[in-house]
Amino acid sequence: MPIVEVRRLFKRFGPKTVLRSLDFQVEQGEFVALLGPNGAGKTTFLRILASLTRQSLGEVRIAGYRLPDQAASVRRRLGVVSHLPLLYGDLTAEENLAFYARMYALPDMDRRMAEVLELVGLAARRRDLVRTFSRGMQQRLAIGRAVLHDPEVMLFDEPHTGLDQEASSMLDQVLRQVAARGRTVVMTSHDLARVTELASRFDVLSKGQIQASIRREEIARDGLLAYYRQALEEPASPAVAG
């Protein structure tokens, strides 16, 4: 059974329909890059998966639990990183993690926090205030926050936004670690080059629907851009891979 299952999803904001009849499925362990032009609805879609917004119509299931009815169960298994850090500037890295550890009611808090700080390479700065962190460090800590409760599914909304080359590379390292060991990842991105290295599958969201989906093996190394452009021009074909 796919770990993320979306069927005939509609999302309306008043009279405007942002997502229409969207179908989307992810198997456990896949790393899906969700591509698409601005305003296509990627962030809205991700927010629905993250249980932050309710769908207008349609079925959404994560790890077998239905949204929005079983949202609490979904949230336990979900880790979300958006382009906003979701961190408190006036608290230290440690305090931020401790706060979220309590919110997720994690047993064995201290050990887990230490592990996570190690994972994202911030163990040395654990007692520093987050507002002194660079953007790259904040993003890494944000990922740490997101994996704290060991979620099965991770959602990333344009995590590389605002990062320079070096910070992005460090982020990628963390992303690879996080994605290892069977975690499922859905990541929206504008950066095709970066995403080519990380993802196992590429979906294109445009005009409120998934227009195309292709696995990493099926595409040439630098063929992603061409594929992407083509997907934007043609309407969704019924026989879509994945």
């Binding site: 932050l52 336990r76 979300v80 906003l84 408190y88 608290l91 309590r102 009611a105 047993p107 060991r181």
Partner: protein
Amino acid sequence: MKAPAPDVNQVNAPSAPAREAAREARPAFGSPFLRAMFAILWKDLAAELRSRELLTGMLIFALLVILIFNFALELDPASRASVTSGVLWVTFTFAGTIGLNRSMAVEKDRGCLDGLLLAPVDRSAIYFGKALGNLIFMLLMAAIILPTYSLLYNTNLFRPGLLLVILLGSVGYVAVGTLLAAMSVQARTRDILLPILLFPVSVPVLVASVKASSGYLQPVVDMSAIQPWITLLIVYDVIFTAVAFMVFDYVVEE
């Protein structure tokens, strides 16, 4: 550049059933609700302790208001007795909105509200956590304003009855204020909206608090005059805490 950390996921990876069990396990103490609520309260207090922005802002504002009142009203000893409670409560009300606004703005600005909503906790835990924090800030402010006012005007404001009224009044004000701040912070016109929303609806609290405070500040305390006001305060507190608790979900859930 630091070498990549060892894959801690691999090192001590529990098996899948163990992970599931750990996930569903109850924490060591208390319900998740209380745990989350106190976590939020603790976070707000810790952050404020470090930056002291909120409290400083409220205090300076409150002192300025008292100063302005000094020029605006006749605060000589004779007329002072009748206006003291009014001045105090206007001060609390205005400075209170600063605290309420700030407390919610922190969550909104860095997207932290999403962080709170992503956690598998009841939304009302968020409400109570924030409301308790707001209440403590308001009481802290009162704790500093009262002696200051007493010093400036050479009166003794430390009557137990007055302290009770301040407590009850603050609870009611904060109960509605937290709810309304959660809404106003998500609107475009954020800064001016909270007072506009809050003041009309908090008139019963204000009236009751001022009258009850006034009563307790009299040389001879007449309980029969104060009683209905205390009752009104308690009624207001109970009703609005219940209402806010019930509708808070609708304010934060999209």
